[in-house]
């Protein structure tokens, strides 16, 4: 080891490498990579559970899994996809990119950042381990409504493990969100005023506020549920004067902002990718920032639209219907601004761009059905049916997952110094895009015909459509396999990517594209100045 190597740390520190480095790192980039890898692994598990669900629903008489196991699979599919895949993946990209994009050397609290990641591991172990305790995993759906989730009706420890895992994940997310906020508020490079902050960073600022304000509420609600289960309290137990509807209000006060937490960073990614690939500046920057805030604020005022059939008052139905519809206005601003951002551009159809454009196409449909569901008379017809399943999968798969694919293809060269195969990427995009629409489009019909969600079997007249849907799953599976293979293949190649492989800085300077691929430790030897 040469003694004259210039290091930023103390000279007597031996450089650590390999596993120990990953286990002890506080580097935001390494933590970001761990988040993303963890999310992909969990995505495979959550996707496999979806495969089992579709296999079971292929034929109403097959009963491949027993109904009690089906309810566990369905609950865990949602929990894994929401908390361990989507939120985790966006946290990963946020961790990696936010400090780079604002010209900071790391997050504000690097050790807290590492803690936010590592607290997920025991939470994940509790969730996966709960399959093996007596009574199996939690089976009350990801809402975990009492009284079904109280000790009387869910006696096993699976429910306890689920509650504690969600509380742990919430603690990690709250700390991560505070870290993001302090970083962006305090550590922007000189000259980067708020109106120069990239839209992806803005999306994380709004998301972080939503996390900080909503997660404590659900944590409290879950503590009360745990207390009902173990300390014989009666917050939600009618026999003791409690009210199950209280839990629904508390849960959805978190649950609806949670939906935007899972999509806003995706909006931010697409807002970076679309103009870059069309060689333009983003259209309507101020309107885009305003729309993010409008969605974030309105997102806290609409929660009871999940409860239109729960016996809430007529006045509540009126308010929550109007407020929910109002969200489509800022969402529309974003969609039209994205279209204007590529209008007149010179579009390069890279895989990242295909996913970003495909995202717009599918997200429009998810938005339309969302607006229709806010119309109470319509909602009553399809509430808790497959129409709702179709709607939120269009938002979370056609929306969030597509943006994550786009972001992965776009920033993979920056993160790893290697390009992902565009040839394989073309396959990934088309298989996923076709498969996604194949699976979720017919679910609208199933819901309108009256098939309830969360059922392990169904009346025979629903069989043909269900078979059709299950077949489409194979396309999504193939896309996932090729995507994973593509990543492994790329990682085995030498690093040869320049600072700015997409020629982005020709139009508008993005700080992450000014440094090497991958960026060095602490990102910038000298803080860049923004003019």
């Amino acid at each position: 080891m040469s003694t004259d190597t210039l290091t930023l740390g103390h000279a007597h520190h031996k450089p650590i490498s390999g596993l120990r480095d990953w286990l002890t790192t506080t580097d935001h980039k390494k933590i970001g990579i761990m988040y993303i890898v963890f999310a992909i692994c969990n995505g495979w598990i959550g996707g496999s559970l979806a495969g089992l669900i579709r296999l079971n629903l292929y034929n109403p008489d097959w009963h491949i899994v027993k109904p009690e196991l089906y309810n566990q699979l369905m609950t865990m599919h949602a929990t894994i996809m929401i908390f361990l895949t989507l939120m985790t993946a966006f946290a990963g990209f946020g961790n990696y990119l936010v400090p780079l994009m604002i010209g900071a050397r790391d997050m504000a609290f690097p050790k807290l950042n590492a803690f936010s990641f590592w607290i997920m591991i025991p939470a994940a172990l509790m969730l996966y381990g709960s399959f093996f305790v007596v009574g199996g995993a939690a089976a009350g759906g990801w809402w975990s409504y009492p009284p079904l989730s109280t000790a009387q009706f869910s006696a096993g420890h699976g429910e306890d493990l689920w509650i504690m895992a969600i509380i742990l994940l919430g603690i990690g997310s709250i700390m991560g969100a505070i870290n993001f906020l302090v970083t962006v508020i305090d550590m922007r490079a000189p000259g980067m005023n708020w109106m120069k902050v990239p839209l992806f960073v803005w999306s994380w600022v709004v998301t972080a506020w939503m996390l900080v304000l909503s997660l404590p509420v659900v944590s409290g609600a879950l503590f009360m549920l745990l207390s009902d289960r173990w300390l014989d309290t009666g917050f939600y137990r009618p026999a003791l004067g409690g009210d199950p509807l209280l839990y629904q209000h508390l849960f959805w006060f978190f649950g609806h902002p949670e939906v935007y937490i899972m999509i806003l960073p995706g909006f931010g990614m697409v807002s970076q990718i679309l103009p870059a690939m069309a060689r333009k500046k983003v259209f309507g920057y101020r309107g885009m920032v305003g729309a993010l805030w409008a969605i974030g604020i309105l997102g806290f005022m609409v929660w009871a639209h999940h409860m239109f059939t729960a016996g809430i008052s007529a006045g509540a139905r009126v308010w929550f219907s109007m407020a929910s519809m109002a969200i489509s206005v800022p969402t529309g601003i974003k969609i039209y601004s994205w279209l204007a951002s590529v209008w007149g551009g010179v579009i390069r159809f890279t895989t990242a761009m295909k996913f970003a454009l495909g995202f717009i196409a599918t997200f429009i449909i998810g938005g339309l059905t969302g607006l229709l569901l806010a119309v109470v008379p319509f909602d009553i017809q399809v509430h808790n049916t497959y129409f709702v399943v179709a709607h939120f999968h269009y938002v979370l798969v056609g929306g969030s997952v597509m943006t994550l694919f786009a972001g992965t293809y776009f920033w993979f060269p920056k993160i790893t110094g290697r390009m992902l195969s565009e040839k394989l990427g073309n396959w990934v995009f088309w298989l996923f895009f076709i498969g996604m629409n194949w699976v979720f489009m017919p679910m609208h019909l199933l819901g309108i015909e009256g098939m309830a969600r969360r059922v392990a079997t169904y009346r025979p007249e629903f069989a043909p459509l269900n078979q059709f849907i299950s077949e489409g799953f194979l396309f999504m599976l193939a896309a996932g396999l090729i995507f994973t293979y593509s990543i492994l293949k790329a990682l085995s190649q030498p690093r040869d990517v320049p600072n700015d492989p997409w020629d982005i800085n020709v139009i508008e300077m993005g700080l992450e594209w000014c440094t090497s691929s991958p960026p060095p430790a602490y990102n910038f030897a000298e803080l860049p100045e923004i003019r």
């Binding site: 199950p244 607006l371 229709l372 806010a374 017809q381 017919p442 009256g450 309830a452 969360r454 043909p464």
Partner: protein, 262 residues
């Protein structure tokens, strides 16, 4: 793929015929609305749909146009430089906002009818959710049936009070356009006036292991047939003497049929 999809969709519609294992076809508010509530709800849904669809189509058409028009053809064309337009941004904020308000306001009279339109009910039934079956009580006739078909008279207002003895259940009969949760410790309410026929539904609120088996069947019978059914099922003792059935306290306040409600 689209052809296959349409085929499947057509097949799904065709297989929903009376010869299927479970009897009558699945009806819903859109295929065959069979009550005033369902008809109004369907009309309201289509109204919202037709207002919203132009915006969606516009966005999708522009998207496809952009994809084909502005692709990099390698001819050295320079990208456009604009990135702001106050008028455009104003229009695509204000126009959707107005439409949203119109759609919302238009739906409120329908909502009002669905909530409060069921005056002068001809029949009151207490619907009680159990894991995993429904119990129907007819307080005026002393009838209490479980795990059976709900039988009601046609073309008259039927008033349902819902509650549950264990977990939350969802009472959903798409053909009649009704859905309401049945919660323990609470009383929820809905009404409908059905056309004669057999209607199928199911529990829509995850209620445990056999949630998917918790089906609902409703027979809406013409008046004479309904009276015959009543005679057959009426319990021997005079119903007026029977105490108000548990668990819903408010059920005691429900008077005999034909009384004015609310």
């Amino acid at each position: 793929m689209i052809a296959a999809f349409l085929q499947q969709a057509a097949a799904a519609t065709q297989t929903a015929n009376p010869n299927m294992l479970l009897g009558a076809p699945t009806t819903n508010a859109f295929g065959h609305p069979a009550s005033s509530v369902a008809k109004l709800a369907a009309a309201e849904s289509w109204h919202a749909f037709w207002w919203v669809i132009p915006f969606i189509l516009l966005a999708e058409v522009l998207l496809v146009y952009v994809i084909f028009k502005f692709r990099d053809k390698g001819d050295g064309r320079k990208p456009a430089k604009f990135h702001e337009n106050n008028l455009l941004e104003f229009l695509w904020t204000v126009i959707p906002a107005i439409v949203v308000v119109l759609v919302a306001l238009h739906s409120y009279p329908t909502l009002r009818f669905m909530e409060f339109g069921g005056t002068n009910p001809a029949l009151n039934v207490q619907v009680i959710g159990h894991q995993f079956f429904w119990e129907y009580k007819y307080p005026a006739y002393g009838i209490d049936i479980s795990n059976d078909t709900l039988v009601v008279p046609a073309n008259q207002v039927v008033d349902l009070d819902l509650t549950s003895v264990d977990v939350i259940h969802g009472f959903y009969v798409p053909g009649l356009g009704i859905q309401m949760d049945a919660l323990p410790g609470r009383l929820t309410n809905l009404w409908f006036n059905g056309e004669p026929g057999h209607y199928k539904g199911q529990c829509t609120q995850l209620c445990g292991t056999n949630h998917s088996q918790m089906l609902i069947d409703v027979d809406v019978l013409p008046e004479d047939q309904f009276q015959a059914w009543l005679q057959k099922h009426k319990s021997a003792p005079a119903p007026a003497a029977a105490p108000a059935p548990a668990p819903a306290a408010a059920a005691a306040a429900k008077p005999a049929p034909k009384a004015v409600k609310k």
